[in-house]
């Protein structure tokens, strides 16, 4: 059953996050204070704010990579609303497996694993056959301009832009209802950037809810349906 497009699939309420640095005598650095945000299917929300405002921290909290101190992050998952703030690891992992995709700025390279297998892995985990997962991985790598001669090589030796495109392919091989994008086009040239924009827009128009950081104004204008200002705690009234 497709999600009701008028109902948010991601709902953030009163989210707060500080980093406490014990090596600095327990210094507390507040990064997010009382952030609320709701995202519906087919929306692409661009997080905007100056460097250090907390955009990446917010995105990482939404993925469960950073721990929220207070507030709620509810996602629509398996026809249910699941709380991610303070969730058990197995709950977060299940949400990540099926519902929540994340494109980070950098690919975390796995030693010895060929690019095509890196890309295919999330689909295999969801039960796709080897043939089907490979076919989709080849399609995505092709669309993203990774030459076939690189498919069977581990991405450790790839350029930054190639690694980023492998990363994007890995995150798009599953049709996640919610996608989080952290500068997905940062190290890409113009031609490849256009290809990524095209893929993002296809997903958005097919009903994926997207939250992203897009430094490049042209990319942001091309994909975003809405802007969310991220304001650092010190600058709030």
């Amino acid at each position: 059953m497709p999600p009701d497009p008028t109902q948010p699939v991601l709902r953030v309420s009163h989210l707060s996050k500080s980093f406490v640095v014990h090596a600095q005598g327990g210094l507390a650095l507040p990064v997010l204070r009382d952030v609320s945000l709701a995202v519906s299917p087919g929306e692409c929300v661009a997080l905007v704010g100056r460097s250090g405002a907390g955009k990446s921290t917010l995105l990482r909290c939404l993925y469960g990579n950073y721990r929220a101190d207070a507030g709620s992050i509810r996602v629509r998952h398996r026809n249910d609303n699941v709380e991610l703030a303070g969730a058990e690891p197995r709950v977060t992992l299940d949400v990540r497996r099926r519902t929540l995709g994340f494109v980070s700025q950098f690919l975390r390279v796995i030693p010895r694993v060929p690019a095509i297998d890196v890309v295919a892995e999330p689909a295999l985990r969801l039960g796709a056959t080897e043939t089907e997962a490979r076919r989709r991985a080849e399609f995505l790598l092709g669309v993203l301009g990774i030459p076939p001669r690189l498919w069977l090589l581990p991405p450790a030796t790839f350029s930054g832009g190639e690694q980023q495109r492998v990363n994007i392919a890995r995150s798009l091989i599953v049709d996640y209802p919610i996608l989080l994008l952290d500068e997905p086009t940062a190290s890409l040239d113009e031609g490849n950037r256009a290809g990524v924009v095209e893929l993002i827009n296809q997903r958005r128009d097919a009903g994926t809810a997207i939250v992203g950081i897009f430094h490049d104004a042209a990319v942001r204008d091309a994909v975003a349906t809405r802007i969310h200002d991220v304001v650092p705690p010190g600058a709030q009234p």
Binding site: H22, A23, R60, G64, R67, V91, D94, R112
Partner: protein, 258 residues
């Protein structure tokens, strides 16, 4: 989320004389989960692992395992014979030093075949065929089947030990620094192998390591131990990227970037 834990650990404590090796440890391990136990030497990781695997008797606490064959069992209240059967059939244990986990005096094939015989396999030809398949899966040349592990390199021995443990399709595998003491290139091969096997066989595992890179690659969850106590636990990437406890922050900050 439904189902029940594969392993339930409560208030586990082990002392050596006056020294507390692990204190009041409790957690649930769910089917398909890989739990990493990290901390410095002397933090109690290996003692905890040995208590979980029934190799050491704790002073207090319980380890309840959901056995495929016999339902919920209290690991430390089983008879010696039943515990040994469990460790040879439904469990595996990968030692840091492969010589402790292998029988060095018999062939590679016999090392793998032994566990098959423990689960009732009697047909010699089939045992030999399965052993050959497993040599291939752990990337050992098939013509080494009749060689003894004394003639193998450290990395090959470790891969043989992994094959010996996984051939009986265990549900739960304990691993103590499985890549410790090996060259970096050999480590990468074993990590890649373990990662693939854990994923494809849907294994549950408890892995002790002091190497946070190994933990990131292989585990879903982490427990951080210091002085015998769990000071922090959670999703692996969360613990490593957003460490909360002073000790975890120190451990994470101590890694040399590659």
């Amino acid at each position: 989320m439904t189902g029940r834990p594969l392993l339930s650990v409560r208030e586990l404590t082990k002392r050596f004389g006056n020294r507390v090796a692990c204190c009041d440890v409790g957690f649930d391990l769910w089917p398909g989960e890989v739990l990493g136990i990290v901390g410095e030497s002397g933090s109690g990781k290996t003692t905890l692992l040995n208590c979980l695997a029934g190799r050491m008797t704790p002073d207090a606490g319980s380890v309840i395992y959901d056995s495929n064959a016999s339902g919920l069992v209290d690991v430390h209240r089983l008879s010696e014979a039943r515990r040994r059967l469990l460790t040879r059939t439904e469990w595996g244990f990968v030692n840091q030093d492969a010589r402790e986990g292998l029988r060095m005096g018999v062939s590679a094939g016999a090392n793998i075949g032994e566990r098959l015989m423990a689960i009732g396999e009697r047909h010699y030809g089939e045992i030999r065929q399965t052993a050959t398949d497993w040599l291939g899966r752990v990337e050992i040349e098939l013509d080494r089947l009749d060689d003894r592990p004394t003639d193998f390199s450290g990395g090959m021995r470790q891969r043989l030990q992994i094959a010996r443990n996984l051939v009986s399709n265990p549900w739960l595998v304990f691993m103590d620094e499985p890549t410790g003491g090996l060259d970096v290139s050999v480590q990468a091969r074993i990590l890649d192998l373990l990662r693939g096997l854990v994923e494809n066989l849907h294994l549950s595992a408890v892995l002790v390591t002091h190497d946070l890179g190994v933990a990131r690659l292989l585990t879903h969850r982490l427990m951080v131990m210091q002085g015998g106590r769990v000071v922090e636990d959670g999703l692996t990437d969360q613990v490593l990227d957003d460490p909360q406890h002073a000790y975890t922050q120190m451990l994470v900050a101590s890694i040399l970037p590659a």
